[in-house]
Symmetry: C2
Subunit: 392 residues, 2 copies
């Protein structure tokens, strides 16, 4: 409903660098991003499944163009606002991967009328009936996928509930379009090592492959069989029966993903640039202007083996300081300190010096900003700015 | 640097109600807000000190006009973006209450050149020297306040460090303008009951009153003596020697403030409107489209006696359901459940039904949105929309 727009009076100066940007702000290392995209694309190409990237992480047309295999998609979105923004940029093949609220079907119909193959997701009879009713009213068959709950994490039809699955399938096939089945192994974010991740991936695969078979055995169509989470996408050994993989955070990675071994710390493409504004030397604190408003309130590593506080501190070239974290944060203040239990030395940073802070959770941190400042490798030069949007 | 703008094509229809708004979105009960403002204003009027409201909570010109005692201020801000936006609306008296980074002084000088009495805050010699240098370069005396660390919470000169306080004071008085002293009792958010809050308030007062006396005894000026936090503002018994009180979250209140007894749950003016999109009945879960993107990742009640999860669930009129909380949240999914240990019954909510969710932390939740939808009391009618902004 509301647009976040670039202010055209403040376009990037040719000489903008990490030393001159206003802080705090969001930095994107495009070299790291490109490497992350290539890594997953190569992996899935080798397994014969297509990648349907989840654009909720970046919410940026510029990133979307780089992460999608073609300008028309496929892609996954988490809001209708994303669907509308990406459709306006030419994306034509999207799944809106959050259970559809009946009142949102009017916007779905509008996008489909414009030639966008937007697919909805659902797991209840009420939603299937609403999609069928909206299809009848609009004179078009709205495609829907049935969400399967592969791990008890969130939404979806429980795999054992064959009756529910078939009944939803019949309503969709009769009154709308049954496009397929979809699941998300949300529990894979808990980690547990490579063997455990392979088990998550196989459970994710089996949940939808079995559901698809059940539908087909009942004479119902199920052309699309969709799985997706960054950890399982990187660990699945076998994707037989799966037609596509959705993943989002792989494009940037973050400390939560590094904490469960899906990436290395120096794969993380996103950081927040902050300026030192003071010290509490007797406490071993460096105070910066990078508080939770710029880092987000996400404390996703708080339950992991290594708690990164509100983020891991790097120098301006993006190299992490050993055991130096944002130990606490207020709205516009970050408190940098040595990680508890470490005998690392606090870096010698004066008032006015700058650091880059790696995020716990890329989706949450990026959402606090309206623009990516794009750098490459260890360079301080800001190549360009890519706007991002929020809202619903 | 970047503006969040209303999309003029989607202005509010006259018939917009809580039943027709796109979800998730932010709701502001203006009756509750007005009551909260009146409560603190009356209290401080009775104590003979002025209120300098912190506008970082609302980041809205419409709310600012209602919470300030006059269109010109005084006010407090947490970013230069706030200072610039409010200055453009006529606010002329502001403290930027985050330690100044030397590189930000150019924007301070620009605003002061336009007739805005913008005051900076600092606690180091380096910052005082930078303010003096910028004053010399700009041919104007930039006013600065010295931050005092009343409770070891964050920034500020330690009260016992008289030498540091006097040296900063001398640099400012000689080369800039020493406007006064300022502190923030951040520890008061921990609660502890009325007697404890009165102790926090008295410690906050003494820290700045003593610092002011030290400066004056050394022949230095100290016209402004500023304290501020919502809990201490509501509990201070004596404010002798204090000239002004800063407070921010009192305007909306939130579950953290209710949890430490500063307000009642039905004083909370802010909520997130969300739609039911599914159930996991055997688990006792209702799934909504109100995930952490709309609620924020703030889990501020997690350390309180009553953990409210990601928020407390209310009906559309704003009445809280007994012991029904958002127990967990993903980016665009909220999981509503009965609070652990309670024998309350889950409300009977169908797919498409709507709820309002009270936030843990108003500043963090409001920051996830670009507009307030204003209602009054239990009415479903949306009176108007007030845009809000973010960024730095």
């Amino acid at each position: 409903m509301y647009l976040t727009m670039f202010d055209p009076s403040t376009r990037l100066a040719a000489t903008t660098t990490l030393d001159t940007l206003e802080t705090p702000c969001l930095i994107l290392d495009a070299d790291r991003m490109d490497r992350n995209i290539t890594r997953l694309r190569n992996r899935l190409d080798g397994m014969g499944v297509s990648l349907r990237p989840h654009l909720k992480t970046a919410k940026s047309i510029d990133v979307a163009r780089r992460v999608m295999s073609a300008p028309e998609g496929p892609a996954t979105v988490s809001t209708l606002k994303e669907a509308e923004k990406f459709a306006a940029d030419g994306v034509r093949d999207m799944i809106y991967a959050v259970g559809i609220a009946p009142a949102k079907l009017a916007r779905v119909v509008e996008l489909r009328s414009e030639g966008v193959d937007l697919v909805v997701v659902l797991d209840t009879l009420e939603q299937a009936q609403a999609v069928a009713a909206a299809s009848r009213d609009a004179g078009m068959r709205i495609p829907a996928m049935i969400e399967i709950d592969c791990d008890g994490h969130r939404s979806g039809v429980v795999p054992a509930d064959h009756a529910q699955l078939l009944e939803i399938g019949k309503i969709l096939a009769a009154g709308a379009e049954l496009r397929g089945v979809l699941t998300h192994a949300g529990d894979s974010y808990k980690g547990g090592g490579v063997a455990e991740q392979k088990r998550y991936a196989e459970a994710e695969r089996l949940a939808v492959v079995d559901a698809g078979r059940l539908l087909r055995d009942a004479g119902l169509p199920c052309p699309v069989v969709s799985v997706g989470s960054t950890p399982t996408a990187h660990h699945a050994k076998d994707l037989t029966g799966v037609t596509e993989v959705r993943a989002g955070v792989f494009v940037f990675f973050d400390l939560v993903m590094a904490g469960i071994g899906i990436c290395q710390v120096d794969d993380i493409a996103l950081s927040v640039l902050a300026t030192v504004i003071g010290h509490q030397r007797e406490k071993g604190w460096i105070i910066t202007d990078g508080g939770w408003m710029s880092l987000s309130r996400d404390r996703g590593t708080g339950k992991q083996a290594v708690d990164q506080g509100y983020g891991l501190v790097c120098d301006l070239e993006g190299n992490a300081y050993l055991d130096i974290i944002v130990a606490d944060a207020n709205q516009e203040h970050g408190i940098i300190a040595v990680r508890p239990g470490s005998d690392a030395r606090l870096p010698d940073l004066a008032v006015g010096d700058r650091v880059r802070i790696l995020p716990n959770h890329a989706c949450a941190t990026a959402a606090q900003h309206s623009v990516y400042h794009v750098v490459r490798g260890g360079s301080h030069a800001v190549e360009t700015c890519w706007p991002r949007f929020g809202g619903w």
